[in-house]
């Protein structure tokens, strides 16, 4: 086994299994921070063992065994034998003979609901979920949430301490407690999918893993909570986005905007699944943010059959979305859709009414603005393009905008 091959294998199993292993390890001890550390140690151990001995038949089980050994060693060093130590020793004595089985119980969804518990600072719900279940580090999360990595990691540590000691129930909550936590869990799943999706069209394998994870979690949530229409809406939204993955870039990696994508490349099965979810959700008669966003994507998907985009329908959905929650994305989307129906001036006037501070660092705002100004042959288009280009994180998007700017 060559070292690069082994390293690739470790990277891939880490990407695939990180959240599952952390969730499983901490489900027994409630100690998320130690589970993360132990898994880190196990990965380091794999870096020297796998090139030497070959990749184990069941890499996940190997990592789990190694991580558990690290956990037990560590808690033996600590003088205090708390509940966690006792539990770990029970595990070591074979009451959880998981390493011999092929299936490691999946505790990720439960861990997500633990992270979203009302006893934990709501501000930290999503970052905590992104870190524990999806393995994002404090720097990546801090960037997304505009907080310094140091401050973010301090708050994450505090939340994990609370989970460890406070005795939060480790389960998907029952009816009454479900609703308030569901919101945070859906938000985190969508954030995970979104942060993966941005990079997923490119070659970033880490981002790809996040998007897969997001889709997977959305499916599990839908199985566990089938009666909540927003859960189906979320799955539909993610499925619609995922269906277009291979159409989002040309063969040579160029960015292709949604309205110009080759719809023959869209994944018909995924689109059909998304439509089924939206249809069932609609029967509940409780509209929400994810159902509306799913419906918007569904209108775009119609183009595969009709050859045209029903901008009027999209504008109506965006208006509903804005009424429900006037987030930057919804406001920008509405302006873009209204511009298609009523003309670029009207779209532009909607953009002008948005909060000047909020839009400062928001790339989609500047991209839409540039597009509308260019349609009107206005000279300020160049400035808007420049803002949009400067705010683009994706190289292909930057190239696309540079080309459009002319």
């Amino acid at each position: 086994m060559s070292t690069p091959d082994a390293h690739r294998a470790i990277e891939s199993v880490a990407r695939r299994s990180y959240g599952r292993l952390v969730a499983f390890l901490s489900s027994r001890t409630r100690d998320v921070a130690s589970a993360e550390d132990a898994l880190g140690d196990a990965l380091i151990a794999a870096l020297s063992a796998w090139p030497r001995d070959g990749i184990p038949n069941n890499p996940e089980a190997w990592l789990l065994t190694a991580a558990r050994r690290h956990l037990i060693d560590r808690s033996r060093h600590e003088r205090v034998r708390d509940q966690a130590t006792l539990t770990l020793e029970a595990m070591a004595e074979g009451s959880y003979a998981v390493t011999t089985a092929d299936v490691i119980p999946d505790e990720r969804l439960k861990l997500l609901f633990v992270c979203a518990h009302p006893a934990i600072d709501p501000e930290i719900h999503t970052p905590l979920m992104l870190q524990t279940v999806l393995g994002l580090d404090a720097t990546q999360i801090g960037r997304t949430f505009l907080v310094s990595p140091a401050a973010m990691s301090q708050r994450l540590v505090r939340a994990k301490t609370k989970i460890r000691h406070s005795g939060i129930e480790w389960d998907v909550p029952e009816k009454d407690d479900l609703a308030p936590r569901l919101e945070a869990v859906m938000h985190a799943i969508y954030a995970a999918y979104g942060s993966g999706w941005e990079g997923a069209a490119g070659t970033d394998p880490e981002a790809r893993g996040l998007a897969d994870e997001g889709l997977w979690l959305a499916r599990v949530l839908r199985e566990q909570v089938p009666d909540e229409p927003e859960v189906r809406g979320l799955l539909a939204l993610i499925l619609h986005c995922e269906a277009r993955r291979s159409a989002r870039r040309s063969a040579d990696g160029e960015f292709i905007p949604l309205s110009e994508q080759n719809s023959a490349l869209w994944d018909g099965a995924m689109i059909a699944e998304a439509e089924r979810e939206l249809a069932v959700a609609a029967q509940a008669g409780r509209l929400g943010r994810f159902q509306i966003e799913g419906a918007i994507q569904s209108v775009y998907a119609e183009r595969a059959r009709t050859g045209t985009i029903d901008w009027h329908a999209i504008a109506v959905f965006y208006t509903q979305l804005v009424q429900l929650s006037p987030a930057l994305g919804a406001l920008t989307g509405r302006a873009a859709a209204v511009a298609e129906v009523e003309g670029p001036e009207v779209g532009l006037s909607l953009l002008d009414r948005m909060d000047a501070i909020a839009i400062d660092g928001y790339q989609p705002y500047w991209a839409v603005r540039a597009h509308l100004l260019q349609k009107l042959n206005r000279a300020e288009a160049v400035h808007a393009f420049e803002r949009a280009i400067a705010l683009s994180e994706d190289e292909a998007v930057r190239r696309f905008l540079l080309e459009r700017r002319g």
Binding site: R79, S166, G167, I168, E169, P173
Partner: protein, 126 residues
């Protein structure tokens, strides 16, 4: 697990302690206490005297200093504590929500730390 319910009350709630029999707030507390005992979760606890009766001791430069109070100028003051035996934080929060003090004041729920106590009481420290 054991949880401490730290009871915070407003001055108005404190005032109920000196009212006559038949006080509704005290009646609510009596019912709550009985419910806790009946559920088998009550471990112990007591009300505290008014915040003004508190005295704080510190060692400063090897000298004992004694201070009146403190009583923070907050609306709610620590008024008592109850130790409860409950399986999870979720159930603890449910029981805390039933406590009469939550109507006007607040209840802070904190898990006891038996492992910290173990270090103190163990006879053979390593």
């Amino acid at each position: 697990m054991q949880y401490a319910f730290l009871i915070y009350e407003t001055p108005e709630a404190f005032a109920h302690r000196t009212t006559g029999a038949g006080d509704a707030y005290i009646g609510a507390w009596r019912a709550y206490y009985q419910a806790c005992v009946k559920a088998g979760i009550y471990v112990g606890g007591d009300p505290l005297h008014l915040p003004e009766t508190g005295t704080t001791v510190r060692q400063t430069d090897g000298k004992r200093t004694v201070q009146d109070g403190p009583y923070a100028n907050t609306k709610e003051q620590l008024a008592g504590f109850i130790i409860m035996e409950l399986p999870s934080l979720d159930e603890a929060l449910e029981w805390a929500g039933r406590c009469p003090a939550t109507a006007a004041g607040a209840v802070e729920v904190r898990p006891l730390a038996p492992e910290a106590k173990e270090r103190i009481v163990s006879e053979h420290p390593e």
